[in-house]
């Protein structure tokens, strides 16, 4: 695998940090999660819970401290599964225990990368600042991932995905004219921030292999997002045309490149939609033919792309009358067959159960662990011909149970014997 031989000591938690080490695990790195039995990762103990066979769990919307503290196991938190494939191992070590801290320093000495996503200063307070770790392992690649990063006037600020989305323009860019922003109903920036965290880890590793030099790379959840607004930011900076203006954002319409029809159209059924997007004359002609050359399509007001953009409301009304009569997948197949860009609006269940492309590509990877039967988890979205990535990482394993690898890691990585491990456990260093 691409990252064979790379060891990452992984202090990340929640989504943003764990996404980064997940990708590295899928590329073959050995990822050792350092966890705590007393303060387990919140996504281990909050809904949705993976149910016992035959039972039904709760949805994420029910996440409160009340039911988080009522979790019967640290190994059934559903969101944990999303972010902790990649063959990650789990060890439990108490960093606040002197022998636990000593153990972590031994692990740092034998790791290529330390990744973490605590608030700035947390690991330094344990006695694991970058300077301390670099003294142990001078070529260490230390990648910190916290909301505002470790430097700057607002480092004390905390983020979750929606916080960062609000602050960087991502929330603003989802909405319809004349209404407040709708935003995302999930933490898109946990993913994007995590992707750039993976880029940071890989860049640090490549840099070290070239130069022998380690470093601290400071990843925030804000900076990975600023380029995501693309030309909108430049339109304001160069042309003085702000995005905060009447009529903007424009729902699913775009000014550039001009396209019409373009948007989500109602399909048969309750709240079912199909996206159709015609940027070219060829797309339009194909659409008209697929619709059976309806008389309205020949009207002068829809003659050119410019006309269609100008009369998009009327065009959308005509097209919607057609889409309403069709199942969204039927419409998609019919239009794609005719050479028109189109796609059903799919939810999570659709992607899993109705998407032949994801099935054919083998996107989902069934992985479980000692407590949970295999679940079809979202897989690595790319293939590599010589170093195939795997959702289960080098071990082809599901997300780890809390602490399941403690003994094996102490034995195999640090050479500790059974007696030494038992003594550490008895001393409370492994909690």
């Amino acid at each position: 695998m691409a990252l064979d031989g790379l060891r990452i000591l992984d202090f990340t938690r929640l989504g943003f940090g764990a996404q980064a080490t997940l990708i590295c695990g899928c590329l073959g790195a050995e990822v050792i999660r350092v966890e705590s039995t007393r303060f387990p990762d919140a996504i281990r103990v909050m809904p949705p819970f993976v149910p016992e066979p035959g039972e039904r769990g709760e949805a994420f919307g029910a996440a409160t401290l009340a039911n988080a503290t009522g979790a019967t196991s640290a190994n059934r938190g559903g969101i944990f599964y999303k972010y902790n494939t990649g063959g990650k191992k789990s060890i439990t070590v108490d960093a606040r225990h002197p022998e636990g801290l000593a153990l972590l320093k031994e692990l740092v000495a034998r790791s290529d990368v330390v990744a973490e996503s605590f608030a700035a200063g947390t690991m330094a307070r344990w006695g694991l600042s970058y300077d301390v770790m670099a003294a142990i392992r001078p070529d260490l690649v230390y990648v910190s991932m916290c909301g505002f990063g470790h430097e700057g006037p607002d480092t004390a600020h905390v983020t979750m995905g929606p916080t960062a989305q609000a602050l960087t323009g991502l929330t603003f860019m989802v909405g319809m004219p004349g209404r407040p922003p709708a935003g995302w109903s999930f933490s898109y920036l946990d993913h994007v921030g995590g992707y750039l965290g993976a880029v940071a880890i890989l860049a640090g590793v490549v840099h070290r292999r070239r130069t022998g030099q380690g470093q601290h790379i400071d990843v925030s959840q804000l900076e990975p997002a600023t380029a995501l607004s693309g030309a909108l930011l430049l339109d304001a900076a160069v042309n003085g045309r702000p995005s905060r203006r009447p009529g903007f954002p424009m729902g699913n319409r775009r000014l550039h490149p001009p396209a019409a029809p373009s948007g989500a159209y109602p399909a048969a059924g309750d709240d079912r939609w199909v996206v159709i997007s015609c940027r070219t004359e060829e797309h339009w002609c194909n659409l008209v033919r697929a619709l059976g050359d309806p008389p309205w399509a020949a009207e002068a007001r829809f003659a050119t792309l410019e006309d269609r953009v100008r009369n998009a409301d009327a065009l959308d009304a005509e097209l919607s009358a057609w889409t309403r009569r069709h199942d969204r997948y039927e419409a998609m197949a019919l239009l794609q067959g005719a050479g028109v860009p189109a796609g059903a609006v799919q939810d999570a269940a659709d992607r899993l159960e109705r998407d032949p492309q994801l099935q054919a590509r083998g996107h989902y990877c069934a992985l479980g662990n000692a407590e949970v039967a295999p679940l079809p988890l979202e897989g690595v979205p790319f293939r590599m011909s010589a170093t195939a990535p795997h959702t289960g990482g080098r071990l082809r394993r599901g997300p780890p149970c809390l602490g399941e690898d403690t003994d094996a890691v102490l034995r195999d990585v640090l050479g500790k014997g059974e007696d030494a491990i038992a003594a550490l456990r008895a001393a409370g260093a492994l909690s």
């Binding site: 960062a164 994007v192 880029v199 490549v206 709240d271 939609w273 997007s277 999570a348 979202e378 979205p381």
Partner: protein, 390 residues
């Protein structure tokens, strides 16, 4: 040796607008990214908005956004493209399999000439499968991938939706795929350092887009329910600005304690001061009272202040900004995030978003404005192919 991780790595880019962001990331890491363009220029050069709204291949802001740091070579024939690929370490392209084969730019042909080449294809659906030849732009990918179904306004009081699912501006499905492409290329380069061998990467934008909806698949697997779209909790401040006001009670008792102290200090805690609210079960059952208190708070402050009040109490709140308002963020400015690059032919400097992370030993490379069409044709042919130009 300089500090850039990809110093000396040659990347040939043969992409439409869907994957140009990949090359921008690789250029930021120090790679020599050469964009091979047809004589009329890459498609994105013809996408607006344009500088001063005057179209032109060197005036597209859509092009600028994703092509900072690259060089441009106009290459009219595929023999030269093949020769450049033979001289490159990495080729990133967006050709469908049939087109790549027709043009002699398919993997077997290229790898015969250059076994160490890392060949990365970014396509809407990947190289195979029943949808491999389907057409898709960013909007179609956002629909099929699941983001749209989860984004938009909530239902009305009758439970029915009167607005469609929405896609974010900024081509997020394309950017996600391009980012994954950069990750895969970095992985392949790391392995090539050890093995000396190249390989083929097949990025499916659909798969990338289908794996970025956080907890939605898990909620379906765990509970059998499908998440329906609707905004996150948002407060409207006294100046009308909106603030994302998350209350992650599940993180521990300190979350409510911090909030209560802040609400009491501002004199709007009301019934929340009742010790009964210290019990998380009680709080969950009476969440409406918590939200009412937050709304009272919101009436006392403007958006920026409300954001900082929440953060002062340890809450992950953020004021909702438009993209250009991000330019004024004091924290990002202090981190030196935004970079002004001179465009001498226009006589102006333009501010771009800069490094996606701060790497002190290997700083992000952000020195070259987006290339003019064909600006580097001669020098690239000379440097990569040893020819004297044309």
């Amino acid at each position: 040796m300089t500090g850039a991780p990809l110093e000396g790595v040659r990347v040939l880019e043969l992409t439409d607008e869907s994957a140009e962001y990949c090359g921008r990331l690789l250029a930021g890491l120090g790679a020599d990214v050469v964009k091979a363009e047809p004589p009329e220029g890459a498609p994105s050069r013809h996408v607006g908005p344009f500088v001063d709204d005057e179209p032109g291949p060197d005036r597209s802001l859509a092009f600028w956004a994703d092509n900072v740091g690259k060089r441009s070579a106009v290459v009219a024939d595929d023999d030269t493209v093949r020769a450049l690929a033979g001289a490159a370490d990495v080729l990133v392209h967006t050709l469908r399999p049939a087109e790549a084969a027709d043009r002699g730019l398919d993997a077997p042909t290229l790898q015969r000439r250059a076994p160490a080449l890392v060949l990365c294809a970014v396509t809407p659906f990947g190289q195979d499968g029943p949808w491999a030849d389907y057409l898709a732009d960013d909007l179609v990918l956002m629909a099929l991938g699941g983001s749209m179904a989860a984004c938009g306004y909530g239902p009305g009081p009758d439970g029915a939706y009167d607005t469609p699912p929405l896609a974010c501006h900024g081509e997020q499905a394309w950017r996600t795929a391009a980012t994954y492409a950069a990750i895969a290329v970095l992985g392949a380069l790391a392995w090539r350092r050890e093995s000396g061998a190249g390989q083929c990467i097949d990025v499916s934008a659909h798969e990338c887009s289908a794996s970025m909806t956080e907890w939605h698949l898990m909620t379906y697997l765990c509970s059998g329910t499908v998440h329906r779209r609707g905004p996150h909790p948002t407060l409207t401040a006294a100046d009308g600005r909106q603030v994302a006001a998350l209350n992650p009670d599940f993180l521990g008792p300190h979350v409510f304690a911090g909030m209560l102290a802040m609400l009491e200090e501002r004199g709007v805690a009301g019934p929340l001061s009742d010790p009964a609210f210290a019990d998380p079960v009680h709080r969950a059952q009476h969440y409406r009272e918590v939200w009412r208190a937050l709304k009272r708070l919101a009436e006392t402050a403007d958006g920026e202040t409300l954001y900082r009040l929440g953060q002062g109490a340890g809450l992950p709140w953020g004021v909702i900004r438009s993209p250009e308002e991000v330019l004024d963020d004091r924290h990002l400015r202090a981190r030196g995030h935004f970079v002004a690059l001179e465009h001498p032919e226009l006589g102006r400097a333009v501010t771009y978003p800069g490094a996606p992370f701060v790497a002190h030993a290997s700083p992000w490379v952000m020195a070259r404005r987006p290339p003019l069409l064909g600006e580097h044709t001669d020098e690239v042919l000379a440097q990569w192919l040893g020819t004297g130009g044309r």
